[in-house]
């Protein structure tokens, strides 16, 4: 009998049967990948297992004993440690406090802060991360926050470790570190459940795979007996179209849309210069903390730069050359940012799918010109169809959607507002293989029609296959620019390694 056995697990939400009598098991010393499209029910299964949803039916056996976790904390006590897809840390606390939250080492009943910090440092060092753990969590990037959540889960005594898309914003190097740790824990006899949309990660770390589709279990396999193509077919229920390869268009034209001149921010980003042509997809590539997000935030006015200017052609002569001080400044110039962290910067929880989707468009039209209901419904249903967003009802709160589907709504939010330049910071984060391709196709199509993009992704392969040109960043400065046939993974890696251009 396996260490963790779930049987007959069902969970219904109004209008959706998220899990239909699913069985799932994972054994000591096993890493099992849980795969499926966006909205297949992966996170729901994990939430039933860890007591987030109490009302699901079915049985859970841990070590042969029936358990019924009432809450994540209770599940933790029972030996199931979890990193949820929407990382739930406390932004205003320090990294150390977050790692030890609820389990602070105490001396005579008082929290021993020296030990708290010591322990957090040790937990982070297991992932080979060396940061100042006394600093506030908000000082760090999404990727580091994700690592903190992992460190926190691993720090607990647990028999089962559950990781719901822990690698969605990590770079190759961090992913490798995480895998090393996972393999070690597996060696110690831990059972690990691993959700990801990155196929190569499954093959490099997992022993076995369980596939869900539309809330139903499709099957269990050992990784070795399930080649890539077959895995994708099992997830989608159909074969995947071939990867469209962009012909890095040399003749992208000289029609410069946006010129960025020495845009910089003290202690955050060295002055950077580049331009974006009309109808071009410009990639930003670099390692974790190399300044991809920072560059986009300066351009979009979200974190205003303190030096340099941008100029936008074709918007009259007045006010087309400036340093954006707020997102509204940039939006006025036709520049929008689809941010990296959907939870803290993207989603408006409590508001409906439809309201979330129309927010940018409405903000652009101003408060008086309300989008009429009929028109709104039309736009929303078009988008839902275009990006295959699964939702029973667009008037439901957006947080009822699966993570990947929320991400798609945020992307649509910008697409319907038709900016001339859209900054996409990890737009495919948490999106499944099938949809990732769709989104890439969509970007390429829109670019052909004249829209411009700045695109960044932790996945180099994706950058290389989507972008016409790539700006390479390292240590918060630009170290190179590749175009046309030069845009290959090797070249980008080489530039990053060289450091100096």
């Amino acid at each position: 009998m396996a260490l963790l056995e779930m049987a007959g697990v069902s969970k219904a939400f109004p209008g959706v049967l998220a899990l239909d009598s699913v069985s799932f098991s994972v054994d000591r010393g096993e890493i099992r990948a849980l795969m499926g499209e966006n909205g297949a029910g992966k996170s729901t299964l994990i939430k039933v297992l860890t007591g987030v949803y109490a009302s699901g039916s079915g049985t859970v056996l841990l070590d042969g004993v029936s358990i019924a976790p009432r809450s994540p904390a209770h599940a933790q006590e029972l030996g199931v440690s979890t990193v949820y897809q929407e990382v739930n840390l406390v932004p205003n606390l320090s990294v150390a406090e977050n790692v030890c939250l609820g389990y602070e080492p105490r001396t005579f009943g008082k929290i021993n802060w020296r030990k708290v910090n010591e322990r957090a440092r040790r937990a982070m060092s297991r992932l080979n991360i060396d940061i100042d753990v006394t600093r506030s969590l908000t000082d760090f990037s999404t990727a580091v926050q994700q690592l903190v959540a992992i460190a926190r889960a691993v720090d607990r005594e647990a028999k089962v470790l559950v990781l719901d898309e822990p690698t969605s914003s990590l770079d190759k190097i961090e992913v490798e570190r995480l895998f090393t740790l996972m393999r070690k824990l597996r060696g110690d006899g831990m059972a690990i459940v691993f959700v990801t949309h990155f196929l190569e990660q499954v093959y490099s770390v997992a022993d076995s795979v369980t596939v869900l589709r539309n809330g139903v279990k499709v099957g269990d396999w050992a990784v070795t007996e399930l080649p890539r193509q077959k895995l994708v077919a099992q997830m989608l229920g159909r074969d995947l179209d071939e990867v469209p390869h962009v012909d890095h268009r040399e003749a992208i034209g000289t029609d410069v849309l946006v010129t960025v001149e020495s845009l910089g921010r003290k202690n955050a980003m060295e002055p950077i210069s580049f331009d974006v042509r009309r109808g071009e997809t410009l990639g930003l590539s670099g390692l974790l903390g190399s300044g991809r997000t920072e560059t986009m935030k300066m351009l979009s006015g979200a974190n205003p730069a303190d030096s340099g200017v941008i100029s936008v052609s074709g918007i009259g002569t007045r006010g087309s050359r400036l340093r954006p001080r707020s997102p509204r400044d940039s939006i006025r110039l036709g520049i929008g940012l689809c941010p990296e962290d959907r939870k803290s910067e993207g989603v408006c929880p409590g508001l409906s799918v439809s309201e979330n989707l129309l927010l940018v468009l409405q903000a652009r039209r101003g408060w008086l010109r309300v989008i009429r209901k009929k028109q709104a419904d039309k736009i929303v249903s078009e988008q839902i169809e275009r990006l295959r967003i699964t939702t029973p009802d667009t008037r439901r709160p957006i947080e009822n959607l699966s993570g990947g589907n929320q991400q798609k709504v945020l992307l649509c939010r910008w697409l319907v507002a038709e900016p001339t330049l859209l900054l996409l910071d990890e737009p495919t984060r948490g999106i499944d293989v099938g949809n990732k391709l769709e989104i890439r196709k969509l970007i390429t199509d829109l670019a052909k029609k004249g829209m411009s993009f700045v695109f960044s992704s932790a996945e180099l392969e994706e950058v290389v296959n989507t972008c016409d040109r790539v700006v390479v960043l390292r240590d918060r400065r630009k170290v190179g620019e590749l175009k046309g046939a030069e845009v290959t993974e090797q070249n980008v890696m080489a530039r990053i390694a060289e450091g100096e251009a």
């Binding site: 997102p327 929008g336 408006c348 409590g350 940018v360 903000a363």
Partner: protein
């Protein structure tokens, strides 16, 4: 079991009304005298009016994840300004001949106070509780300074009508409230302002990145809160024909916050319901009136009120309902 959020305060209100139908003789009696209705029901509405007015502004403020503690003090300021102007105690501004001007100036001052709060919160970035606490404390002080610590009494039929007159058979304050409510409700719900306010309260950073002028939204909602507090303040002083800087609007910010909470608007911001707050405010006044007419000792009134409010708020909480339902289904834990 999931009802529309406004259902819970409505059920509460219905229960109180039902209770009175059985146990309070004459509660539903209405009498028409001199073209004006009298009775317990009318009394409830009339007494609820100040909190009703405040709760409109408070709802919008809370929807942006804020809170306005200064409304009681702003009421006092507006009342003081109106009373001083109407008695010509301000040497450089003699406008006592025009009550319209008197009221307008008082409202401008009140709105300005709201803008002050809004700038502190929206532009400077001070936490709402702290920012409005400043005016809560200082504002009453200002009102006391204005009136010199004395009640400023006046004799001006036109101004008094705002507090004690009637229109369409209903008390004038309540009629004013209805007009203000409809205007503001249409203003936020028929434009995109409601959406912008909700987006700001739900996730201010996301709203900002989406191009919503979150900071301006914040200034605007505090301004509205100041304005309605001003209206409530003028009515309150017209009602007693005096500006009482020490007591006007005292603790009323708390009643307004409660009305909003009972009405189903989450104190953590986002979705709001103006109508819910109206029901909440009426519910609380009906409760108070009922308890008082039952002859319960005044000391017990507050406790009884608190208990019932806690019940309504608990019922609104999905977590509470869930844990309640779970306990029922889980015999092991029963």
């Amino acid at each position: 079991m999931k009802l529309h959020p406004i259902a819970y305060p409505l059920i509460g209100l219905a229960l109180i009304l039902l209770f009175n139908a059985f146990f309070t003789p004459g509660f539903y009696a209405l009498e028409l005298r001199d073209g004006r209705l009298y009775g317990s029901l009318i009394d409830v509405l009339n007494r609820a009016t100040p909190v009703l007015l405040l709760s409109i502004g408070m709802t919008l403020v809370i929807a942006t994840k804020g809170v306005d503690l200064s409304v009681g003090a702003v009421m006092a300021i507006a009342g003081a300004v109106a009373a001083l102007l109407v008695t010509d105690k301000v040497s450089f501004l003699s406008v006592s001949h025009s009550v319209l001007l008197v009221v307008l100036i008082a409202l401008v001052v009140a709105t300005f106070a709201g803008v002050f709060n809004g700038v502190l919160v929206g532009k400077v970035g001070i936490q709402p509780i702290v920012a409005t606490l400043i005016l809560m404390v200082a504002g009453r002080g200002v009102a006391q300074l204005l009136t010199g610590g004395q009640n400023v009494t006046f004799n001006n039929p036109a101004l008094e009508r705002l507090g004690t007159g009637s229109a369409f058979g209903l008390p004038m304050p309540f009629v004013i409230f209805i007009v203000v409510f409809v205007l503001i409700a249409v203003f936020v719900r028929k434009t995109a302002l409601g959406l912008f306010i909700e987006a700001t309260g739900s996730n201010a950073e996301a709203a900002r990145l989406a191009g919503v002028a979150s900071d301006k939204m914040k200034v605007a909602v505090y301004a509205v809160s100041g304005l309605v507090a001003g209206i409530a303040g003028v009515i309150a002083c017209a009602d007693i024909r005096a500006a009482d800087a020490n007591n006007a609007g005292l603790y009323m910010e708390l009643d307004a916050i409660l009305a909003v909470a009972v009405g189903g608007t989450s104190l953590s911001g986002g979705r709001f319901s103006l109508l819910g707050s109206v029901v909440g405010a009426v519910l609380m006044q009906a409760l108070t009136t009922t308890i008082l007419t039952r002859g319960v000792s005044p000391h017990a009134t507050l406790v009884a009120k608190a208990l019932i409010i806690v019940a309504v708020i608990l019922l609104q909480s999905p977590e509470f309902r869930a844990s309640f339902a779970r306990r029922k289904h889980d015999p092991a834990r029963a």
